[in-house]
Symmetry: C2
Subunit: 274 residues, 2 copies
Amino acid sequence: MARVAAVQLAPVVGRLAENQAAATEAIAAAFAAGADIVVLPELATSGYVFESLAEARSVALPADAAIFGEWAQLAAGRENSVVIAGFAELGDDDLVYNSAVMIDASGVLGVYRKVHLWNEEKRFFQAGNSAPLAIDTAHGRIGIMICYDLEFPEWTRLAALAGIDILTVPTNWPLVYRPTGERVPEVQIGIVAARVNRMAVVCADRTGTERGVEWSEGTTIVGADGWVVDAVGAGIGTAWAELDAALSQDKTLTDFSDVFGDRRPELYRELSGG
Amino acid sequence: MARVAAVQLAPVVGRLAENQAAATEAIAAAFAAGADIVVLPELATSGYVFESLAEARSVALPADAAIFGEWAQLAAGRENSVVIAGFAELGDDDLVYNSAVMIDASGVLGVYRKVHLWNEEKRFFQAGNSAPLAIDTAHGRIGIMICYDLEFPEWTRLAALAGIDILTVPTNWPLVYRPTGERVPEVQIGIVAARVNRMAVVCADRTGTERGVEWSEGTTIVGADGWVVDAVGAGIGTAWAELDAALSQDKTLTDFSDVFGDRRPELYRELSGG
């Protein structure tokens, strides 16, 4: 059983030092409050609303940045704990990626580069070309994808088929229209990704107006049964949930039905021409 | 612009004649009220909770059953009108299928056989092996899948990629737990299928307790923007919506984003090993 904290923060574009400090403080606070897994938003260290590639590059970090060592030290203070956070990555290839890192006491476990870039991100970032990150931990197999990735059911299905028990999703969801009483649409997508795959989904969104852009403040934890366990709502805050990987590993719905067993992969392949 | 009626009925298992009469009456009433497209539930003519294959077979109809001719005659009374309804099908191969038919004034346009069988349906029905039905009409390309099919995002994506503008989904959703204030979970799945594919989704569910089984009464019409237009709620009734195929044909989200264009099909293929 893992105690999961999804933290809604308010990064400010370009303020690398302040954003790093706020992220570090949030991670420390979550561990102090008993978190085993702490999830921070997309681009938590850099902010989101860039005006140029040069600006994005100026706050991009390498995968071995010093800040990740600090987070590993925080993780070392709590047995089997894990941190996931989004950052602008400066690759070995000198390209800039919208990435997220998974860290434990031993250091960086892996980096995921966002595969489906949203809107103007295409001006600033190179798209990743690798599967959702999937790392075995004491709390089950933890995965990462980023924001708009979640809206591609092919991608969430691949994550589930790769055995991910807890899919973490650092996000920055710009505020969009929704009718009164409706949930944030991207949260609805996360709920259904959980339900149809029997996989817990942990979305850490951002807050704080940035260059006129407002955000959905949709930080939400969904259980493998597809029901919301906790959500933050407006402002800076943390959603909490106890997640059991065993629930994600049981794909059975009834004596005769199973979300994976009932798939017809040969038919999907044949009909999609591949 | 098509005026769509999704009708929630209460078939009774084994009562073929009464169910056919109720379905015919519902179709006539919907046309009289101005429907262009009328969608009836899964297994509308047969009922759902079978106890044996013999029982299912006893109420199965061939694809050229007389009742479909009656419905075609009703359709002939309104220009460009279409009927979709679920029925137990007796195939040319003497096997029994959980099917749905699309009919216009000219007769049967096509039959779809449910590909993903739910729970004990596997005892009674043979699974279909063909893509979601997709038929061009005056109101856009209309598709059919049935109930549990909707829970496979591979299947709804295939339907959207096949150019379906209005996906009709005859269903029988057994009542399951949901927290207070939450929508029927299968309706949530339909909403997200609409949203991530920009495709209208029309679910016609059933009502009426049958052999102790209660139903979600989830008849709902979702626009291509992913928002609910109308739903029936408890009891027999009809949900209505004006659906414009052009909205489903525009997959653009922003100047830089497109729900189809942003897919990474080569990556999906490579990572799914096929």
